[in-house]
Each structure stands twice: as C-alpha cells, then as structure tokens.
C-alpha cells in the first residue's frame, strides 16, 4: 500500500530493549544504511555494565540512539523522535527522552505482568494515560517474528533472538530505506556458518518491512534526503575504529611498525580488537597481563624502534601513571590513548565523561610534562590519533590522546582521506657513532636522538634516574636537575610552534566565548549557533590542544566579556585556563555519564547573557 511520504531534515530514533535483544546490532545496521544513503549522522550507544542482566529488568536495558539527517548532524540528539521499545523496562527507562508528540513503537507481546514486575511498574503503561503525549504503536513483534519463520522448525529462543530484525525492517519501511545493506550483512555474518539462520533472519527483516507496508496503522512514511556534505569519498566510522586507523596510518607514514601494548577495558577495548586484526599490516598487538605491563611493553617497543602505543580507560590510565613518568624521562615516542569513562574508580564503566583531563596534564609524581590533545567527534579520532603519533615521534615524547566513551562507541560519516594527503611523519634514527650523544638535542624541537638497538656503535643506556644534559649519564648534580626539569618543560612548550592557532567559530570578539574540548564539540557548536541565530553575541572556541595550549588562546579569551566552559566533569579545563590566563571563566558541569544536551548549554548561555529563554 502506498502511503504519503513526508520529507524530514533529521530524525532521531532510539532502539531500546534487553541487553540480549541485539539493540546495538539493530542500531548499527540502521546507521550503516543511513550512512550509505548519504545522510549525515551521529550515534549514541548506551548499554549497561552487565553483559546481559536478567531479561526484563530496567538495569538490563540497552539502548542505541541514531540521528540522521540531510543537514549537518553534530550530536546524537538531546531527545528522540522515535522510541522503539522491545519491553516495558525499555519503555519506562527511555520514554523521558522522547520529545512531546514523538512516536513509540512497542513489542506488545512483552507487555506482560511478569515484565511489569521486572520493570518495577504496577500497571500497563500502554493502558493508562501516561503516554498520552505520544503516538503509540503496539505491535506484536514477537508473534509476527514467530509466524514469519513458523515453518522453519527453529527454537523459541531463536525466535526471541531474531525479533530485533523485525523492528529493524519496520523502521526501514517507515523511513523509506532499502534493505540491501542489512541483507548483505546477514548473508555474510550468518550465511557461511548456517544458511538456515541467515534465511530466517532475512525473512524476519522482510516481515518487519512488509508489516509496515501492509498493516494499516501507519499513515505516513518519511524520507530523509542525503546530506550536502563536502564532496569526497565517505564511510561510516566508529570512534574507536577511527583511532585504530589513525594509529596504523601514522605508523605506515612514518615507516615504523606499530606496536600496541594494551589490556582490555571498557570502552577502549575495541581499539585493541581492531588492531589485532591487522597482522598483515605488521601491526603487533600484545595483550599484556595488566595496564602497567601494557605501557611498559610499548615503551620497550619504542626503544626498539617501533611506534609504541597503549590504549586504555580511566582505572587503567591510573595504573599507567608511574610508567608514563618513565617514558617522559626516557624521552621516547609513545602514544597513550585514554577513552574516558565515568569515574571515580570503577564508576560508570560503560558511560562517557571528560574527567581525566587534569590527570592527563598534571597527574604524575615529579615534574612530568607531556603533550595532551583530544578528539572532538568519532571521525576526528582518526586525526587526533594521527596527530598524537606525529608529535610523539617528532618531539620524542609520550603524547596523551583523550577520547571518551561517547566518541569511541559513537559513529558518523567520515570523509576518507587519501593516504598521500596525510601529513608526512619523517623519522631519522641516529646512525653516526662519532657525533651520537643520547641526550643531545635538536635545536628547534629539543628532541633527543632516537638510536635503536641494532645500530652499530651507538650502544647506550637510558633510565629513570635524572640524567646529565647531553650525555644522558646518571647525574645527581643539583644544577643539572634544575636545568633538565626546565628543559623537558621547554621541549613540550615548543610544540606550540608546531600546532595550528586556535580557531574560533563566530565573531572574534563579543559578549561571550564558549570554550569546549573533546567530545562536547558538536553539542556546544549547536548550542552556540542557536544562540547566535537568536542574535546573541556569542562565539565558540573548541580547544584540541590541551597541553600546550595554542599560542593565541589567551588573546582570544581576552576579547570576550565573559567565558563559559561547559564540561562533562566538575570543572577541569576551566582550572587550567583560569590558572594560565587569569580570566574569570564560568563553568557549566553536568556529569551524568551522557553527552551534554545542547539545550541545557543554550540555556546557560542565555542565563549568562541575561537573555530571555528561547
């Protein structure tokens, strides 16, 4: 049956169900299709720390939000337009982020007394007034799934597990999307092992699609046109994958082998998983016994002439503290990726946060400066990781690259760079026994030479004790220590000449500058644009380089009457900026394990500027 098709600029769908319901897969499939259709998009997976908590409970709910559009999509959306809820728990925990008038699609079959109890509700929310503000579609998804494959003699458990494809098919119909991306996926994923399983899943997917087409409850279909992105070749990419690719690309460009020493930890493990597939790229991944061994092995690898990398998250980062100090005094290249998550301690392991910034910049014993930078979007993880590697090699220093759970797990379209266009990363290993001194310095960068074992005539020893300028010998001389501490600091400061000036979106002066860093880029850009559209004098500076800061950051700050720094932490960048530039910056800190919402930032802007709400 043909339905009228309505064109929308952007749509946000949230799939929610049990951890075992395959919501992450469903969301990813929908995302991939949107990507291939040329939509801009942004995703927010949101899953519990338990692998598969008991079915039906609220703490077992796993969600995946995808926003896609024909215009620039910068955030996964403060609220969603459509909520697909596979059971009551998924409904009650997610309905609060559905916009007024939004659409709810529920698996009616799961609305049983048992599930109400598990979801801690006393009555059926579909039957009371609580959902009046929304458009609710009750669909017997389980039953429809079962009947789609009734003749195939599959277990009830299988039926349960494949019902997500029904929901996916239905959404494809509703948003007028082709099935082929998912068809191909199912064929590849299941086809090889079990043709029957593939067949069944395909049938369910199509049943969902056809259900929309046939059943007369949906009056409209929607369409979201391709986005007008800059011309080029695009792919959809998750942040953690982008990080992995950035590291490989940097190593290749530098002509080095990539060595990853890592220890699994949510939400960073996917970088390890990605890289461990790349054996044919001479990528060596070493899953160490812990995070300390992981970073130490990477230090050893760098000494031996590889690009040493270690990847982790919060608690793992804490464990690396001592060894980072060693890498700093050894002055070896090392990339440390911290995919930040909710803290303190184990905290909220599957949620996002930006609370490891001060740790990255100053959280070590002794004076131990290094370079810190942060990625601003899932695709930007590629550039951030690449840049971290470039600086690490050029300045012979560890560099911390901060991403976060939202960036790492989120996805967006990425304009794939041409390998030839990537910045060169020249590497010169020391070779000359006549002139070699382990702690001699490049005049410009202050980097010491990289002399790798195997090189004739350059045997030398380095270590964690203070070293004599030039020779690198152990040295307890008071003046030398003072000199070396300041020299190491100066080396990091000099990176300032190697990084771009701070840019600013909006006017270069005005009433308010909003300063952001890391994964909040999109949210804050949206908030500032909205405020500017409403006539307010507000600009946005997103700081990628957190140590050292870009040379012109101070100048920029001083041109505004007020500075606002929203962060998903209790005020960290703000401390660094206030300390360095003595500007009375104001913080905005919402620490909920979730990306900031553009709206709340916008409101804060209005509050500061004394403007009227909306």
């Amino acid at each position: 049956m043909e339905r009228p098709i309505k064109t929308l600029d952007d749509v946000t769908i949230r799939f929610a169900g049990d951890s075992g319901d395959g919501m992450q897969l469903t969301g990813t499939q929908f995302t991939n299709t949107a990507a291939v259709l040329g939509n801009d998009l942004s995703t927010l997976p949101d899953y519990p720390a338990e692998i598969r908590a008991p079915a039906g409970t609220t703490y077992g709910v796993s969600g995946f939000q995808v926003r896609f559009g024909s215009r620039d999509i910068l955030t996964p959306g403060d609220s969603c337009d459509v909520l697909v809820a596979m059971n009551p728990a998924a409904l009650v925990t997610n309905v609060k982020i559905l916009r007024e008038g939004g659409t709810i699609i529920v698996n009616e079959d799961s609305f049983t007394d048992k599930n109400f109890k598990l979801a801690n509700i006393t009555s059926n929310p579909l039957d009371d007034d609580s959902l009046n503000r929304f458009q609710v579609y009750r669909i017997p998804i389980s039953k429809m799934t079962a009947s789609a494959i009734a003749d195939m003699n599959l277990s009830p458990k299988f039926v349960e597990k494949s019902k997500n494809f029904f929901a996916l098919g239905l959404m494809y119909w509703m948003y007028n999307r082709p099935l082929d991306v998912s068809v191909k996926f199912i064929e590849e994923k299941f086809g090889e092992k079990d043709a029957k399983v593939a067949e069944a899943n395909l049938r369910v997917l199509k049943a969902g699609y056809n259900y929309g087409d046939t059943v007369e409850i949906f009056t409209t279909r929607y369409e979201v046109k391709p986005a007008k992105l800059p011309p080029g070749k695009y792919r959809n990419i998750m942040g953690n994958v982008a990080t992995a690719l950035g590291l490989v690309a940097a190593a290749k460009k530098a002509g080095l082998e990539l060595f990853l020493g890592s220890y699994p930890i949510t939400p960073a493990s996917d970088i390890l998983h990605e890289l461990s597939k790349l054996k044919n790229f001479d990528v060596k991944t070493f899953q160490a016994e812990d995070e300390i061994a992981a970073i130490c092995s990477a230090i050893g690898a760098s000494y031996a002439g590889a690009l040493g990398v270690t990847t982790t998250s919060g608690p793992g980062m804490a464990l690396k503290t001592e060894a980072i100090g060693l890498a700093i005094i050894l002055e070896l290249p090392l990339v440390i990726v911290n995919v930040q998550r909710g803290g303190p301690s184990t905290g909220l392991p599957t949620k996002t946060e930006q609370a490891d910034l001060l740790q990255a910049v100053v959280g070590r014993n002794g004076e131990a400066p290094l370079c810190v930078l942060a990625a601003s979007s899932p695709a930007d993880c590629f550039d951030a990781a690449y840049e971290a590697a470039r600086l690490a090699i050029k300045y012979m220093t560890p560099v911390i690259c901060l991403t976060d759970g939202y960036l790492g797990n989120g996805a967006e379209p990425w304009k794939v760079p041409n390998v030839n266009d990537l910045a060169e990363i020249p590497v010169t290993f020391a070779k000359d026994p006549e002139t070699f001194q382990p702690y001699a310095r490049d005049e410009k960068t202050l980097a010491r030479p990289w002399a790798i074992p195997g090189t004739p005539g350059l045997t030398h020893r380095i270590g964690g004790l203070e070293k004599q300028h030039i020779t690198g010998n152990i040295c307890y001389e008071p003046d030398n220590h003072d000199f070396m501490i300041k020299l190491r600091a100066e080396k990091i400061e000099r990176i300032v000449d190697d990084i771009p000036l701070q840019t600013i979106e909006g006017a270069p002066e005005g009433d308010l500058l909003v300063v952001s860093w890391g994964g909040t880029y999109g949210t804050i850009k949206v908030a500032v644009s909205e405020a500017r559209e409403k006539g307010l004098s507000v600009s946005h500076a997103h700081v990628r380089y957190l140590n050292p800061f870009p040379k012109n950051l101070g100048e920029i700050l001083y041109k505004f009457k007020a500075v606002l720094i929203p962060e998903i932490n209790n005020g960290q960048l703000i401390k660094l900026i206030r300390a360095k530039y003595l500007v009375p910056a104001i913080g905005f800190n919402v620490i909920k394990g979730l990306p900031l919402r553009s709206e709340e930032v916008e409101e804060k802007i209005y509050e500061i500027l004394g403007a009227n709400h909306v």
Binding site: V36, P230, G463
Partner: protein, 342 residues
Amino acid sequence: MSDTLTQVQPVKLTIKDFQSDQDVRWCPGCGDYSILAQMQRVFPEFGRPKEKIVAISGIGCSSRLPYYVDVYGIHGIHGRAPAIASGVKIANPELDVWVATGDGDGLSIGGNHMIHMLRRNLNIKVILFNNQIYGLTKGQFSPTSELGQVTKSTPYGVIDYPFVPVSLAMGASATFVARAMDRDPKHLQEMVRRAEKHHGSAFVEIYQNCSVFNDGAFFQYTEKETRDDNVVYLEHGKPLVFAKQTKGIRLNGFTPEAVSIADGKYSVNDLLVHNENDSTLAFILANMIHDPNLPRPMGVFVSLDRPSYEDQLDQQIAKMKSKKGVGDLQKLLDGEETWEIQ
C-alpha cells in the same frame, strides 16, 4: 627474521668490549661484581655483535647492571623489566634481550610480569640476583628472605613464608630454570651460556651476597670450606653426587634423601639421575630447599622445548600476509563500504 642474512661471520669480541664507560658503583665486596664479570666474560662467546644485545632492568642494586655492560639498555622502573623486555623482543625479535633483576624487583613488585613472561616463553634471559634482601633501600626483607630473618622492616623476624624462586618459575610453566652462585664463577658462566642457548624464556636464579645488609647469607653454599657438603651440582644424565663424591641423593618415593655412597650401603647406581627434561623432577629438586639436611642443587633444573611467543607471532603475521596480502593502507581506510558525495 634471522639475522644470518646481514651477519654471516660471527663477531669476535672480548670482555673489554662489554665494559661500558660508566663507573661501577656497588659496595665493596658485593656479589654483583662477580655476576657482572661473568656475564661480560661469556657474552663475547656468543659471536653476536654487541649492538644486537639489550639489557633491561628494574630498580635495585642488581638493576644497575645495564649501565655497566656496553650493550643497549634500559634501567626501567621497579619490577617492570620483564614487561619492557617483552616489548623490545616482540618489536624486534632479532635482538638478544637480557633482564637483570633482584629478588625484590623480580619477585615482589615484579612477580606478575615475571610469571607471565615465563609462561609466554618469550625468548628473553632473566638473571635474578637473589640476595634475600632489599639492598638499594637499605635492608628490608624480600620475598626470599628467610623466616625469622631480622631486617629493618622486621625487627622481630620475618613471618612471610618465602618463595622458592625455582618452584615459582616451574609453577609458571617456565621452559628453562637454573640456579648459580656469585662465588662460583665458572659454574655461573656456564649457566649464562646455557641460558643464551635456550630458545625461550630462561630464568637463572643467582645466590648473591649483599655484603652490607645480608652478609654471608649463602656462605654455607658459596665458601670453599662448606660448599662441597652443602651443594649438589645438577648435570643432565648424571647421578646427583656431592661431598667429594662421598654422598648422593636418592629418591624415596618422591622424597629426596641424602645418602652416603662411601660406606657401602648405597652405590652411585642407587642415586637419582638428573633429567633436565622432566619438570616433575625439577619441582622435587626445587623443594629440597625445605629440608635442611639436603644439599642445595645448583645447575639447570629444567630445560624444555616449546615454541617462543615471538616465533608464533611472526608465524601468524606471515600467515596473514600470505592469506590477505600485505596490508594496503588506503583500502584499510576505505573500509568495507564507502560512498561518494559529488
């Protein structure tokens, strides 16, 4: 990845080549001097250019060793030498990697890295200087200190039951485990040689005298007057005899006993014959430490064949390259699905 391509002729070096320009800074009378000297003496025999050798250590008196050997080296952080060494070896399997560590560095804070390195069987050689004390921090007990030992941190005696380093290594599925003494240079040299020859992780415990904080801890084994009676040297395929061939070790069930072979009751034929390939026997020999009536075994406890970690990794890499072809970066970046925007 063998370096026979680049290096056809074995190199001829001497002990001098392995002496660095750094002043040796151990206390007078410290057993570390001998261990250093034996290593410097044996290294030239390997016929390897010294630039292909890397010495890695943690922190401790013993961990200063890399400064004094003229090879590449890292004086790391406390306990982490095996982890640093693993990275070096995996990144460049052509290098000979040696770890110098102490009973504190290698078995206390670094115990975990040690046992994991051993099980993985990375082709790395560990020289563990066991002086049953923390030297560098001035005399606290270590995991090998003896029960009752009075140290700075145990004024009333140690109550921590000590590790037997050899047993621990066996428990961690080590493929090569040996023991030697600072004051028996020839035998120590031989153990260093054997460690080098072994393809895989080699763990060599060395009894080392700390002349300042635990002087004489091993004198019953190391000194001429008492050594014969208190030490039994292990030799593959040979019976365990000691005390100038007057005594030997026989097994009573699994329990080793010292017996006289001079008074006619037992002969050499009754004695336990050493077998380096038997890990159970190694475990039995390791536990002889618990019986004060038994001599202390020195030598190679066990030497087993097992593929090294880095060999397997290199094989996996070679296999994936032949299967998937050498990686093409552009293709990797493109991923499985791209689309063009004009």
